[in-house]
């Protein structure tokens, strides 16, 4: 079985700034890490490799420094990695990223399963996984919390706010996973030493046969109008429940005050 894991390198600091001119995230000077949900996708792939045997290839679309993230995945046990990088990809949106990844997966050939994190830590769209499934013409299940392989069929559990759904799905398929699925392993010493030596020449738009106008900023199907940080949730009002009668009285008073009752 050949499993592809798609990862993104994201800034580790949550104190990234929004550039008022471009509305893009600026993260110069921050440290970078693998998008946390993608680490769970990699772990799910490595767990399948351990239990059933598989080749695991990791793909990322990013700048040259994303090679560090790929080396980390090789250190953890991935068999191969591709840095898909081209100045022409600058400003590409979720649609274009999905297109690029789907093209790379088609070019690899013989891929049975694609695993992605359910969303990224920075862009937060949760669109790339389902998007590349669309380009590949494969089934997609998002928010997966458990994967077992029975022959050529995946037995899955998909998360909901309350409870979960059991799904049987034939391969090939694209899955996106959440943090509930596993605890990502750390890279081994031998793995890290070997990964340092790995050659990660960038795979360009030309190598994938993608015309520059088909990807990148000019091809973007979405336009970013404004970006703003999500307001922090406030604590709300806490009512001490030790004295039930007094607490109930207080709640009713508050509700009346807010003209809700």
């Amino acid at each position: 079985m050949h499993i592809v894991v798609c990862i993104k390198q994201v800034p580790s600091s949550i104190a990234v700034k929004i550039d008022p001119a471009t509305q893009a995230l600026t993260c110069t000077g921050s440290e970078f890490l693998i998008n946390p949900f993608d680490e769970h996708a990699l772990e799910a792939a490595l767990a399948l490799k351990d239990s059933a045997g598989a080749k695991v290839t990791v793909l990322t679309v990013g700048s040259a420094q994303a090679a560090d993230a790929l080396r980390e995945t090789l250190g953890r046990g991935a068999d191969a990695a591709q840095l898909i990088s081209d100045p022409a990809f600058a400003g590409c949106d979720a649609w274009a990223t999905s297109k690029i990844l789907a093209t790379a997966i088609q070019q690899l050939g013989g891929v049975d399963l694609v695993l992605c994190g359910k969303q990224t830590f920075d862009g937060d769209t949760a669109q790339v996984g389902p998007g590349l499934a669309e380009f590949l013409g494969w089934s997609c299940v998002a928010f997966v919390r458990k994967i077992t392989l029975e022959g050529a069929t995946l037995q899955l559990e998909r998360m909901f706010e309350e409870g979960y759904e059991k799904i049987a799905l034939p391969l090939p398929a694209v899955l996106t996973v959440g943090k509930e699925i596993n605890t990502p392993r750390m890279a081994s010493l031998k793995g890290r030493m070997a990964a340092k030596k790995a050659q990660l020449a960038p795979v360009t738009a030309a190598a994938l046969g993608l015309a520059p106008e088909a990807i990148g900023a000019q091809s973007a199907r979405t336009r970013l109008a404004k970006m703003a940080p999500v307001p922090r949730k406030t604590g709300g009002i806490k009512v001490d429940g030790a004295d039930a009668a007094a607490a109930a009285k207080l709640v009713v008073e508050k509700l009346r005050e807010m003209k809700l009752v």
Binding site: M186, A187, S188, L189, G191, R192, K196
Partner: protein
Amino acid sequence: MGINYGLSEQQIEIRNVMREFSKERVIPARAELDEKEEFPHALLQELGKMDMMGLYIPSELSGFGGGSLDFCLAIEELSRICIGVSVSYAANALGSYPILLFGTDAQLKKYMPPIAKGEKYCAFGLTEANAGSDAGGIQTTAVLKGDKYILNGTKQWITNGGEADTYTVIAMTDKNKGARGASAFIVEKGYQGFSFGKKEKKLGIRCSSTRELVFQDCEVPKENILGREGMGFIVAMKTLDTSRPGIAAQGVGLAQGALDEAVSYARTREQFGKPIIANQAIQHMLANMATKTEAARTLTYAAARTIDSDEKDVSKISAMCKLFATDVAMEVTTDAVQILGGYGYMREYPVEKMMRDAKILQIYEGTNQIQRNVIGAALIKEYASMK
């Protein structure tokens, strides 16, 4: 900022692997492991998968093939966060050294690969109730009967006792010969007549397992002897010479960990309208702590490099680094508690545990008084040989 210790690329990688592991896995676990006195099995299992359990074991025996300095760097990083975990880790090496230094090919091939992979743990059994500093006073006996040695006696305060599968044990094959009558054996958990005493309750390093090894007519195959009959004391002394920089590395790491906590607290704690680090009284304490920690590190790395250079006699430098680094650890952890004041005394902050943990370093693998004896004896020998 940093000091150039001339570490190789591999050594820096070893340090990074253990630093990240300690931060990601040990920090969230250490207080609970201490509180529950729970052996850090899950952490050691993960270290096994990360090639760290076999760091000091040759690659042909499924290890990583690292040297003493490689191993010290790993112990130092783990000790920066918790020496209860790091002693459980490093005691595998203490138990393994007798086999690595004196084992036959067959013994090496049988016992070392599972230890290198972290599938089995190892422990060293030397100390007894009446044979601590005076290792010559060992009462456990081994009598050859046919193709088996019959062991009788009790080993005390054995780190990794009960958790380990492989034990290297010193017992007397000829009591009349004193130290020359001791021999070393490999004893497997599960051998008839081999059992464990209760888990000891300790001041510090509480997550580590410390138990008695009880031998009652325990049958050990004749081929499990290490070296020859009568070599037990040499096996023990060479083992300790090799392992002592590891204890020094625990001291260096622990002192560094305490310094880390003290500096970060002093920068944020405000009294009289300014952070307490603005006070010269605090700065001077921190400066002493940092300088002593660095001096301990330098001596420890020098000792480890001496061992890695295959120097024949390493007793003196090995005792010196153990003595110095562990005294520094006790002092620096005590000062860290002082800097954190009332908060430092509370279990909510990690420094009270660090101070409790530090004390054992001055006691185990030869008390610091015994280290001075070793250094003194080496000086006498050294100067006597001068013309």
